[in-house]
Structures are given as C-alpha cells and as structure tokens.
C-alpha cells in the first residue's frame, strides 16, 4: 500500500474521467491533464446481454 500511495502523493495527477463530464471539466480547470471517456451503458443497458458479454470477455 505504502509504495503506490506515496507515489501518487509525489506525482502530478493525471486523470481519466469515466462518466459525468462536469467533473472532468472542473478538474481540468485546475490545470490537470484529464482524458474524458465518452461512456455509455454497454449492450444498450440490457443486463442479461451485459452478463453474457462479460462472461465472454467481450466488454
């Protein structure tokens, strides 16, 4: 635990934002590098299909 958290505390933050764009924008406004993932529910949100695809390693 110690090592990776200490690394984080000693590093510049580099963020990947998955979801609400506003959060990515608020972080980027503080001069932080943010990459936005344009996330949307997999398989049209069909839970049964999502489970099948997960089992197949397809998502």
């Amino acid at each position: 635990m110690k090592q990776k958290l200490e690394e984080l505390f000693d590093s510049e933050l580099v963020i990947i934002n998955v979801g609400i764009e506003l959060f990515g924008s608020a972080i980027a406004s503080q001069n932080v590098q943010v990459t936005q993932v344009q996330w949307k529910p997999p398989a049209g949100g069909d839970q049964e299909m999502i489970d099948i695809l997960k089992d197949l390693g397809g998502i």
């Binding site: 635990m1 110690k2 090592q3 990776k4 958290l5 200490e6 690394e7 984080l8 505390f9 590093s11 510049e12 933050l13 580099v14 963020i15 990947i16 934002n17 998955v18 979801g19 609400i20 764009e21 506003l22 959060f23 990515g24 924008s25 608020a26 972080i27 980027a28 406004s29 503080q30 932080v32 590098q33 943010v34 990459t35 936005q36 993932v37 344009q38 996330w39 949307k40 529910p41 997999p42 049209g44 949100g45 069909d46 839970q47 997960k54 998502i59």
Partner: protein, 517 residues
C-alpha cells in the same frame, strides 16, 4: 400550446448534463414542461405520468435520448429547442485530451501515465468500471451511488491487494495533491491530512483550516459506508497508513458518522499505534472511548478543525464569541414582530442539515425535518406554522430528475420567498457550498429572493433575520470572501461555520420564545 416528443437513438449523455439542460429549459418563460432524459425505465414512467403518449416510447433503451418540451406557443418552443441543442453540444471538456475515447483502454492509450480514474457511471455499472481501472493499476475515485455493499467490499479488497486507493463508492469530495476532486474545495497546502466518510464534513474542516492560514496535505474521501462493520474501514485504514508514512503530514484527522462497533475497535487500535497526533470526529461515539486510544476527540466539524490546528500551534481566529453572538441575536430580535418565533433552515448539504439539527435540538427541543430517523416533514411542509423546521434540499424528494442543489439552486431558491407566507418565521438559516464543480455563484443565485423575503416581512412590521455560513475558500472560483460580502451587503448575518450559524439561529429563537412566554 406546442408539445413535442423526439427520440434520438444511440445518443447518450450523462445525467448531470441532462438534468442541467432540463432545468435550464424549464426556467425559460413560456415553457410549461421540459424533460430531456435517457430512456431508462424510470424516465419512461415519468414521461408516461406526464401524459406523454408515444408508441415508440416502449422501444427506447438506456442509450436513446428522449426529448420532451411543452411550450405556450411555437416561438417559445423553437427558442427552447434551439437552447437545448446548444446546451447538448456544449462539451464540458476543458480537458487537455478531449479525444473521443469510448473506453478506459482507449483513454489509457491516449494517457499512458494516468494515475487516477474518476468514475461516475450509474451504480449498476460502477463495479465493472472500477474493477477495470484497479486492474490497470489506477487509483479510483468512485462517485457512483447505488453500489451494493458486496460490490463495495469487493472493490476495496481488490484495491487493497493492488496497493491502490478506492475512494468511494458515493464519494463526492477529496483533495489529492492540492487538486479538488468532484465537488470539493481548493485548499492551501499544509501539514494536516484529512480522511473522512462525509463529503461536506471534510470539505468544511479543510476550508476552515485554510481560512485560519494553514492547509492540508491530502483530503481523502472514503465513501459514507466505509466504517460500517461489513466494509471494515478498508479505505480509511489504507489512507491512514499512507498519511502516517507521509513526511509532509504532521496531524491526521478522521471524520465519520458513527462507525460499526467492530470497525470502531479496529480504528481505535490503529490510532493507538500511530506515531502522529490524531484528531477524531466520530459522530455519536463516546469521547472517552475515542480518547482512550490517544486521539483527540472533537464534537463537531468546526471543533475538529480547531483541534487539528491546535496540534500544530496555529490559532483559530474565527472562534465562537458568546458575547458577540448574544449582541447580534438581541439586535435581530428587537425588530421582529410578536408572531415571529421559529427557524426555517433551508440546506443544500445533508451533513450541514444534520449538524444543525444536532446543535439546535438540545437548545430548542424537537426540530422538524425531512432527514434522519425522526423525519416526518415532507417537501410540502416547509411553511408549516408553529414549528422549527430544517429542510435538506439534497434529499430525494427534491432531486428527482433535478441536479443536486449545490449544482442547481432553483428548488431551494423558490422556497425562500415561500417561508414568508408563515408569519411565525423569524430566522432563515442557510448553507452555501463552493468549489470548481458546483454552481458558479450560489449566493448570487438567491440574493434577490432573500431581498424580497426580507422586504415582505418588513412591510408587515417584522424583520426576517437571515443567518448563513459559506463553506469554501478564496481559491475556489466563486471566492469565499466575495460570496460572504454579497451576503453581508444584503443584511445577511454571515458566520464562519455551520455550527456557529446554528448556535446563533438558536439564540435568536430562544430570545424570541422567551419574549413571548
């Protein structure tokens, strides 16, 4: 009247953006109803309840956008529709890498040196996305709520195995390396490290420390359930160890609602082994038990900041002054009419609402509210006469299909003038929360309503005393000092903390009720 429903297939937008768009459209004069939302089953039910009849509605899925606007005439409708298009196409990017990544893997190709993943997808997808991020070696800040306890335990155990931090689920506030994450404040760097299971709580402590001239190393949110026995404080303990090993952290602060009994024992044992001073605000726990671990116990958020600052010999210049409070309260009471005897608290933050109730109940007796175990006040009871009432506008009743009041002040704004309908209202108590992701001017958004409410009460021979606190710093885009000045210029009594605001409001009410006995 012009009504139009439009379905756009495979056109996904996040819920905050869509709630903001809908809310903006509803505020256009002449727009009767507006709802722009994804085709979830809940949203489809809402459209049906609104009287929308569209055969295609049954066919849409969660990736399809449903646009519904009802306007008084076609000109208004066209204007609203045009505004909606602009708002939808307005990307909140500002990001240095705005490439259209569709997955975490694609984002990692763009940004191979990423070290933290912020996740705010709907709860049922949160575990999957967070697991992917942890497996890729990223620390996780998980905002999503509605994540099961089982999923939370799995994620936190995985993070622990990987030596990573999983902040959340349901975690809205952190400050890592001086950067405000999600709805937190920007604070100065300094020697105090904060870990907490309550977002507004850790934000208030960090902001008060900043205002006193010191600062924080890290503010680490854990998510509200971390100290429940089922979770066992996995994130709290990981963060605690990191702060103990961090050379820049001299004092560790931990904050949570009441922990589970087993988890409390574990936390206290860990504190007893700590080489650094620890200040604890574990709500609802016996201070003697906390102090038996060697920790300093604090009763409320402001006291936690004061005691943390005390550990590094930094004075707290904004301390509560009983004489000054009495003087202000007496001055406020002089102008009130005989009927004015009750407080109306209109809060954005559940934490501050809860804290206000905790402060006021011993001083005033039962407080009627819409939160907690004793809740019995609904959204329609804000103006109930003959009672002290405190409302949390972040509760579900007020946020169905609307952004949280820290993002969109509209629902709370409307209640301000409403409280004047009851001649018993003597004090309006409010909180304001700042930060890069929240409303750009939360005070400005409600000032006109405060002015009107004061005028209405004044015209019938009374005086509405408005008491407020602003949680944030001068480094936030809104600037705390400017927000406070705007309130003071409009005859609002501004105090440094929510606790002091609650004490002052109680003092005024006690004097009023004493006058009338």
């Amino acid at each position: 009247m012009t009504i139009q429903i439009e379905i756009r297939q495979n056109s996904y937008f996040d819920s905050v953006k869509l709630m903001y768009v809908s809310s903006t459209l509803r505020n256009i004069e002449g727009v009767k109803q507006a709802m722009v939302a994804m085709g979830t089953s809940t949203n489809k039910e809402i459209y049906t309840e609104l009287g929308v009849v569209d055969a295609n509605l049954d066919l849409v899925n969660v990736n399809d956008l449903i646009i519904g606007i009802e306007a008084q005439d076609s000109t208004t409708f066209d204007y609203a529709f045009e505004q909606m298009e602009k708002l939808l196409s307005n990307q909140h990017t500002g990001s240095s890498k705005s490439a259209a990544c569709r997955t975490l893997d694609e984002a990692l190709v763009e940004t191979p040196d990423a070290n933290l993943c912020v996740i705010s997808v709907p709860g049922q997808h949160a575990r999957y996305e967070a697991e992917k991020a942890l497996m890729k070696g990223l620390h996780v800040h998980l905002f999503s709520d509605n994540v099961s306890i089982e999923d939370e335990v799995a994620l936190k155990r995985l993070a622990s195995e990987k030596g990573l931090l999983c902040m959340g689920p349901d975690c809205g506030v952190s400050n890592i390396n001086g950067i405000s994450l999600l709805v937190g404040s920007i604070t100065a760097k300094g020697p105090i490290g904060i870990i907490g299971a309550t977002g507004a709580g850790i934000q208030q402590i960090a902001a008060l420390i900043d205002q006193a001239g010191s600062g924080v190393t890290q503010v680490i949110g854990t998510g509200g359930r971390d100290l429940r026995d089922e979770i066992g404080g996995i994130t709290m303990l990981a963060a605690f160890e990191a702060l103990e090993n961090d050379n820049d952290t001299e004092v560790i602060v931990i904050v949570s609602r009441k922990p589970g009994d087993r988890c409390l024992s574990k936390i206290l044992a860990r504190i007893a082994d700590c080489r650094k001073p620890v200040v604890c605000n574990l709500m609802g726990c016996d201070s003697k038990i906390i102090e038996s671990s060697g920790a300093v116990s604090a009763e409320n958020l402001e006291e936690t900041a004061i005691k943390a600052l005390g550990q590094i010999q930094v004075p707290y210049p904004m301390a509560y002054d009983q004489d000054e409070t009495t003087r202000i309260a007496e001055a406020a009471c002089k102008k009130m009419s005989e009927k004015q005897k009750y407080v109306r608290g209109l809060f954005c933050s559940g934490t501050f609402c809860d804290e206000a109730i905790g402060v006021m109940t011993p001083l005033l007796g039962d407080i009627h509210t819409n939160i907690g175990s004793g809740k019995e006040v609904g959204s329609s009871h804000v103006n109930d006469s003959r009672r002290n009432i405190i409302i949390d506008f972040g509760e579900e009743d007020f946020t169905q299909g609307r952004p949280h009041p820290v993002l969109d002040p509209e629902t709370r704004r409307r209640a301000i003038i409403g409280i004047t309908e009851d001649e018993g209202a003597a004090v309006l108590l409010m909180d304001f929360i700042l930060g890069p992701a929240v409303h750009p001017d939360p005070v400005g958004a409600v000032l006109e309503d405060i002015r009107i409410a004061k005028q209405i009460v004044s015209e019938r021979g009374g005086h509405l005393s408005v008491v407020a606190s602003v949680c944030g710093t001068d480094k936030d885009p809104q600037k705390r000092s400017l927000q406070e000045k705007a309130l003071i210029d409009n005859e609002v009594i501004v105090v440094p903390s929510n606790v002091q605001a609650s004490v002052l409001a109680s003092k005024i009410i006690s004097l009023r009720q004493g006058d009338n006995e």
